[in-house]
């Protein structure tokens, strides 16, 4: 579906007649929320939580029973109750998401999946057209707020170091694609998905799309928006760094780079994990990249190329975005980001600043989107609208049990280990 088709389909959703959905539909478009105080927004989110619980109680047989079992009352729920309601993302693997969808969920949406790099069945989440429309609007406003400027429709060019086929699979790619499409900003995909074979079995791999890369590098459009995994920009920087003089001259003649001039408003937006690479810390990646990528501010003055880092996952409709050197990860004003005590999985106590990340998106209309993906984050004060900023610490890894086995089957232990 294109962005316009999504909006058209969303506008026909019967859910828009529901007062709660109508309310969140208006709220997600309200840019003034970004000017409100953290206290005001917290109060708004608490009221939204109660209305959201009520909405899902009305729209599903499953949720009222769940809320009752957990002792959560829609009428007087507090944000602390989210700790009880958050589900582990693992539940959403395979067909797991279906059980959470409301009755008569809007059809004609899209399914997004996690990359499946863990070797398990991927997390798969259905997004109705209305939710997709909310995704485009909410993420665009958040992106522009963090970016610090309005993205003029039809101006600039973007390169995404991903393959176009991933637009229909990965949430982050879809969000970038649809947002830019909605803004009529051309998006080039810097990778191709190619069939290959190894040991007789067919598999797919990503290869650079040189044509798209050269087109982006040579383009005079401004701003240039470069979306990539941290590994992508790091590998490019490394390549420039290790080029001999002849290669450098030839590359320069062919592409005009290095340096890669992103022009006025140019930005590098990173997202995703290490993609299997052993990467240096983010600030090292940024420091090195700034030797080979340049950008200017609105007035045409040189500035270190801005970096934004997106924390998005399949199961969240909207992302958290950090701006390097300015602040950590920030969600939309309506998103409740909370940390759980890693031991008790209850709300983090006063004075603690590190815990298991939980996310609640009250504007999602198809399911009660409150989950924890298994990441440890730190929280610290922030002087912006959200009042708090978040920093990624690490992912929780899970021992699968073999190493723990010492029961009757614990003999010949080394045979049982799978390291």
């Amino acid at each position: 579906m294109s962005a316009s088709e999504i909006f058209e389909s969303a506008s026909k959703s019967p859910l828009l007649k529901d007062p709660y959905v109508e309310k969140v539909w208006n709220l997600i478009q309200d840019k003034s929320l970004y000017e409100k105080s953290p206290d005001h927004l917290r109060s708004l989110r608490r009221s939204l939580l109660r209305e959201c619980l009520d909405f899902f109680s009305r729209r599903s047989d499953y949720y009222p029973q769940l809320f009752e079992r957990l002792g959560v009352s829609p009428r007087n729920a507090e944000l602390e109750d989210l700790a009880k309601l958050a589900i582990p993302s693992d539940v959403l693997r395979g067909e797991g998401h279906k059980q959470f969808l409301i009755k008569d969920v809007d059809q004609g949406g899209e399914n997004f999946m996690s990359s499946g790099t863990t070797g398990k069945e991927p997390v798969r989440v259905y997004r109705s057209p209305l939710d997709l429309a909310i995704m485009i609007i909410a993420n665009t406003i958040l992106f522009e707020h963090i970016y610090g400027d309005y993205l003029e429709p039809g101006r600039g060019i973007a390169l995404f170091m991903a393959a176009p086929e991933l637009r229909h699979r990965l949430n982050f790619v879809a969000f970038v694609h649809l947002t830019l499409e909605n803004k009529r900003i051309p998006l080039l995909y810097g990778m191709n998905l190619v069939q290959s074979s190894q040991g007789g079995s067919a598999w797919q791999k990503l290869e650079p799309n040189k044509e798209a890369l050269i087109k982006f590098l040579k383009s005079k459009e401004e701003p240039k928006l470069f979306f990539t995994a941290p590994a992508g920009v790091h590998l490019m920087s490394q390549r420039f760094e290790t080029m001999n003089l002849i290669n450098r001259i030839m590359y320069k003649l062919l592409t005009g780079a290095p340096p890669v001039n992103l022009g006025k408003g140019g930005v590098i937006v990173t997202g995703g994990g290490s993609k299997g690479y052993d990467l240096p810390k983010y600030d090292v990646i940024v420091e090195k990249a700034r030797r080979y990528f340049t950008a200017k501010n609105k007035n045409g003055e040189d500035l270190p190329v801005p970096f934004m880092d997106v924390l998005g996952m399949t199961e969240t409709l909207t992302a958290l975005i950090a701006k390097f050197g300015a602040h950590g990860m920030i969600p939309t004003p309506l998103t409740e980001v909370f940390l759980l005590n890693p031991r008790t999985f209850e709300p983090l106590e006063e004075g603690s600043n590190e815990g298991v990340l939980g996310i609640f998106n009250p504007f999602v209309t198809s399911w009660f989107e409150c989950f924890y993906p298994g990441d440890i984050m730190q929280v610290s004060p922030w002087d912006g609208y959200y009042g708090r900023q978040f920093h990624y610490v690490r992912r929780l890894t899970v021992e699968e049990g073999w190493d723990l086995q010492r029961a009757c089957g614990g003999t010949l232990e080394e045979l049982m280990r799978r390291k």
Partner: protein, 482 residues
């Protein structure tokens, strides 16, 4: 970590390194040296009066008890707590139980349960007019023992020696130092009989790729291989043993588990306390540990029962601490939430030293769905966790026992070994008949599922019988004309 073999005299050894594990093990040549003495050692051992054999272990138990009393085993407690993951208080209990394993009266009763007249271990005894039998060691016996606690390796090893077998014991890494310490007592005893027993025992760890292990299983003149454990090691060992031209007897004690059936009439505080104790002890790593339960009755009564259990779980859990890592807690908390999502009632503790979980599910086992989602929450991972399925009729209970081995949540377990039973007399008889047909090996009270009587067979078999063969002798012709 380094492990050294333990034997009498001189045997060739070799050092193998496996990651951070350095293993000095008996080499192929060493095994040949050991086995060359086997016929003589077994002849001498089986020539000993049975009471004298038992006395050696009785004395050994007393020495062990004294060592424990004097605090000479305090360092071992720490070592075993580290290698097994059990709390020091549980290890202390384990060390105390060693004395009971070597109790003379228990050993005698165990042998009598298998052989009847113990004289038959020494000489031919008449079983009918002119017909005789004699039990003879089937060894040498090679025991690959389990690692779930210290006691299980001691039982087959001791019985093997008592029945006159040269015995090679390969303990698990987790209990290796404990096993060595126990039989070191035998090495230091100052009697001819103890020295003879000591000569008949060699203890060595073998890495799974060890040529010595391969030699032992495929070529050595071993009479019995007794393997305690599950797959894939069990399959490997079975394949290798089948290659051995000496056709050793393979006795496998596979991974088993325990289950509990309670009806609401019997669901009192005592039963709740007993179940809680068995859930906490050994963190459910014994083949008899209750890892699932069926409650026959109403959900309200089941809730009352769990409330009683909760108090006892807190009580026992505070005695036997168990600490989980951050990632283990993550897995556990996720599993608990999925149970709630699926409609089960979750009772739990977030005490970092005692994170127990009791789940009440109505009518069906929800654990399978949870394990399908959180695959790491498997039988090896789960500790201090039990799902109690509440059913209306007692007829529904045996199905859960019968189907358990085929459930995803119990992958790796062969079947239910022990059923802890607390039901009213009204249904007991019929339920017992059904349970017999489910293939279980033990049906015992809930309170002491973890304890074994000396008379009990092991997993449906008498171990002493497995380590011997019967020689039949007749000195008269039969009254039968062709």
């Amino acid at each position: 970590m380094r492990v050294n073999p333990n034997f009498v005299g001189t045997l060739d050894t070799v050092v193998r390194v496996l990651g951070d594990l350095e293993v000095q093990e008996i080499s192929e040549l060493g095994i040949q040296q050991l086995f060359s003495k086997a016929p003589d050692v077994q002849r001498k051992l089986s020539g000993l009066n049975v009471e004298d054999r038992i006395q050696v272990f009785e004395d050994m138990g007393k020495i062990w008890e004294e060592k424990l009393r004097k605090g000479q085993l305090n360092a071992l407690k720490k070592v075993l707590s580290g290698s097994t993951g059990y709390s020091e208080s549980l290890i202390e209990q384990e060390l105390t139980l060693v004395r009971s394993v070597f109790n003379g009266e228990s050993l005698r009763r165990s042998l009598e349960a298998s052989f009847g007249n113990l004289e038959a271990l020494l000489k031919f005894v008449e079983i009918s007019k002119g017909e005789y039998k004699r039990y003879f060691p089937a060894g040498p016996v090679f025991i690959i023992s389990s690692g779930n606690s210290l006691i299980p390796p001691l039982i087959p090893t001791t019985i093997s020696l008592l029945t006159g077998n040269m015995t090679i014991l390969r303990p698990s890494i987790s209990n290796y130092h404990g096993v060595i310490e126990v039989y070191n007592t035998l090495r230091t005893m100052n009697s001819d009989n103890a020295r003879l027993m000591s000569e008949g025992l060699a203890i060595s760890y073998f890495t799974h790729e060890s040529p010595s292990l391969r030699y032992l299983l495929t070529k050595a003149k071993v009479g019995v291989v007794n393997f305690w454990g599950g797959d894939p090691a069990r399959v490997e060992v079975s394949k290798l043993v089948s290659e051995n031209p000496h056709r050793p007897r393979l006795i496998v004690n596979g991974p088993l588990t325990g289950s509990v059936i309670i009806d609401e009439v019997s669901a009192n505080e005592t039963v709740a306390d007993g179940l809680a104790k068995n859930v906490v002890l050994y963190d459910q790593q014994l083949c008899s540990s209750p890892t699932s339960a069926i409650f026959i009755g109403s959900i309200e009564k089941a809730k009352e029962f769990v409330n009683h259990m909760a108090a006892s779980l807190n009580k026992y859990g505070s005695i036997y601490n168990a600490k989980l890592s951050e990632s283990q807690i993550y897995l556990l908390q996720s599993a608990r939430r999925i149970f709630q999502i699926k409609g089960s009632i979750v009772y739990s503790s977030n005490d970092p030293q005692n994170m127990w979980t009791v789940v009440l599910s109505k009518g069906k086992r929800v654990l399978d769905e949870v394990v399908s989602t959180v695959t790491g929450f498997n039988i090896y991972f789960r500790r201090r966790f039990i799902e109690i399925v509440v059913v209306d009729k007692w007829h529904d209970a045996p199905t859960f026992i019968r189907e358990l081995p085929y459930c995803r949540a119990f992958t790796g377990v062969d079947k239910v070994q022990t059923v802890g039973l607390a039901v009213s007399d009204e249904i007991k008889h019929d339920l017992l008949e059904d349970l017999v047909n489910c293939g279980v090996y033990r049906i015992v009270p809930v309170a002491d599922m973890y304890l074994r009587s000396p008379l009990e067979p092991y997993d449906g078999l008498n171990i002493p019988s497995s380590f011997t063969y019967i020689i039949y002798m007749r000195d008269r012709t039969l009254d039968f004309n062709v």
